[in-house]
């Protein structure tokens, strides 16, 4: 019984993690489009764009574990924020339909990353509790059920995505 529930818990966590990966991947896919769109309007900002691309590639090349991903994804989130901040000083870009669409898509994807992350973390919490509490911890020790890592993102980033950056002139 305890063994089964541990296996179930670990499978759930794996499934939840692949749920996050779907949305992370969608974000990677959207970024080149975004960069192309911004390039047309803001030619002098190539260093910012370069940074975004680098952050994206770094995040994409992360190994599978949530712990590795956290830092890279945080970096990517911050660099994306800088693109949206940059759009404030290019009214044409800000009014571009394509850009608006992409911004919406990316915001939605980030919401979904947050949502799936939350589910993943709650599943991991249940699993980790099982590996650390009495009857099941013995089984967990016998069969080497290791604790799983949470997927952490800073909440500041989420807040920044939700509230458009305020720029004063």
């Amino acid at each position: 019984m305890a063994f089964n529930s541990l296996v179930r818990g670990r499978n759930q966590a794996t499934e939840a993690w692949s749920g996050i990966e779907v949305h992370l991947k969608r974000r990677y896919d959207l970024i080149p489009n975004l960069v192309e769109t911004v390039k047309g309007y803001a030619k002098h900002e190539s260093s910012t764009l370069e940074k975004v691309i680098q952050a994206r590639n770094a995040a994409m090349n992360q190994g599978g574990t949530p712990g590795d991903h956290s830092a890279a994804e945080n970096e990517l989130g911050r660099s994306l924020k800088s693109i949206f901040a940059l759009s404030e000083s290019y009214p044409d870009l800000k009014a571009n339909q394509n850009f608006i669409e992409l911004q919406k898509e990316i915001t939605d994807t980030e919401d979904k990353i947050q949502a799936s992350r939350r589910y993943y973390n709650s599943v991991v919490l249940i699993f980790n509790n099982r590996t650390a509490t009495f009857p099941s911890m013995i089984i967990a020790g016998m069969f080497n059920f290791a604790k799983l890592a949470f997927f952490e993102l800073d909440e500041a980033e989420k807040a920044a995505v939700h509230q458009p950056v305020k720029v004063q002139f």
Binding site: G19, D108, D111, K112, A115, S116, R118, Y119, I126
Partner: protein
């Protein structure tokens, strides 16, 4: 209580109800058969003849009930939606709503349910579906318009909790089982009166009496089962769904605000005639009346608010008690 415990407890209850239903039906029919035989005058033994009658009727009634429940199990969702005058929302029609539901489903770890809008300005919502894959969340136009994003998300999370806990499946089966017999009773009673009106006199008297007895038996079964339904669908499941919703959104406060707003006007006119469907809603959609309260499995909004308040209070109290502690020092 763990979500998985809730699911298995609901699965057990579903099996139990499927077992109890035919047994209770048999007993009810048998008791009525005894009564009938006593009135008609028995030739041999009363119980023997009553058993004979019961065995004659029971297979047919169970067959009808079985088909009825099976049909509503697979199509119950669309039947209820039809009754409520709901229409499906596509991504193109309402992106914001669609995304909100999608994201809430992701948080709950469930597949995205189909979304339906009920054309009514009141505030209500319900969920149905035999399993999470066929889940449906229906919202009134009013609730989408009048609640803010967080509150609406809390309501959606509450409905998703019902789907995830398999409350909706248990609900479909019991509602269909009871509805079937009330419907049968009504049809039999009507045909008995029509029959009595047409062919008065020879021979038809006994047939009419049989039909009336059968109709009353159906009604009694339908209404006797109601208390069992109320037991099985204990009010706890609403608290449970509230708690799960609070856990999904991490915002019990938003749900409390939503419930307060809903309490002002939960009445959906399209659902007035179907009190059993009301059991599936977040708040009772029917006009309040004594008779309907018999079926109502919803706890008072005040009690639910109190339960939610404890959740927010629980997380707040360490902070609020800290200054007090300092003052003592």
């Amino acid at each position: 209580v763990n979500v998985y415990d809730q699911i298995s407890s609901n699965s057990r209850k579903t099996v139990l109800i499927l077992l109890v239903f035919p047994i209770a039906l048999f007993v009810t029919l048998f008791l009525f058969a005894i009564l009938f035989v006593k009135i008609e005058g028995a030739r041999a033994s009363i119980t023997g003849e009553a058993l004979q009658y019961t065995l004659m009727v029971f297979p047919w009634l169970s067959l009808v009930a079985f088909i009825w429940i099976a049909v509503s199990f697979y199509m119950g969702g669309s039947m209820i939606l039809g009754m409520a005058n709901a229409h499906r929302v596509t991504f193109e029609e309402n992106r914001d709503l669609f995304r909100l539901v999608e994201n809430t489903a992701i948080m709950a770890g469930l597949p995205t349910p189909e979304i339906y809008l009920i054309d009514d300005d009141s505030l209500n919502a319900f969920a149905t579906g035999r399993d999470p894959q066929t889940g449906i969340v229906a919202l009134t136009r009013g609730i989408v318009k009048k609640l803010d994003k967080d509150e609406l998300q809390a309501v959606i999370a509450h409905e998703l909790a019902h789907i995830g806990n398999r409350d909706t499946r248990l609900m479909i089966i019991t509602v269909a089982g009871i509805g079937c017999f009330l419907f049968l009773g009504e049809i039999l009673l009507r045909s008995a009166f029509r029959g009595a009106g047409r062919g008065r006199g020879r021979g038809s008297g006994k047939g009419t009496l049989v039909i009336i007895f059968l109709a009353v038996a159906c009604f009694v079964f339908g209404y006797v089962i109601a208390p069992i339904l109320r037991l099985a669908l204990s009010r706890r499941r609403e608290y449970q769904a509230d708690a799960t919703a609070a856990k999904i959104t991490r915002d019990p406060d938003a749900l409390a605000r939503a419930l307060k707003k809903i309490a002002i006007n939960p009445r959906v006119e399209a659902l007035d005639a179907s009190p059993l469907v009301g059991n599936m809603c977040i708040a009772n959609p029917a006009k309040p009346s004594f008779f309907r309260n018999l079926y109502c499995t919803h706890p008072q909004i005040e009690d639910r608010l109190a339960a939610l308040g404890k959740m927010t209070g629980g997380s707040d109290s360490p902070q609020s008690s800290a200054p007090a502690g300092k003052a003592i020092w």
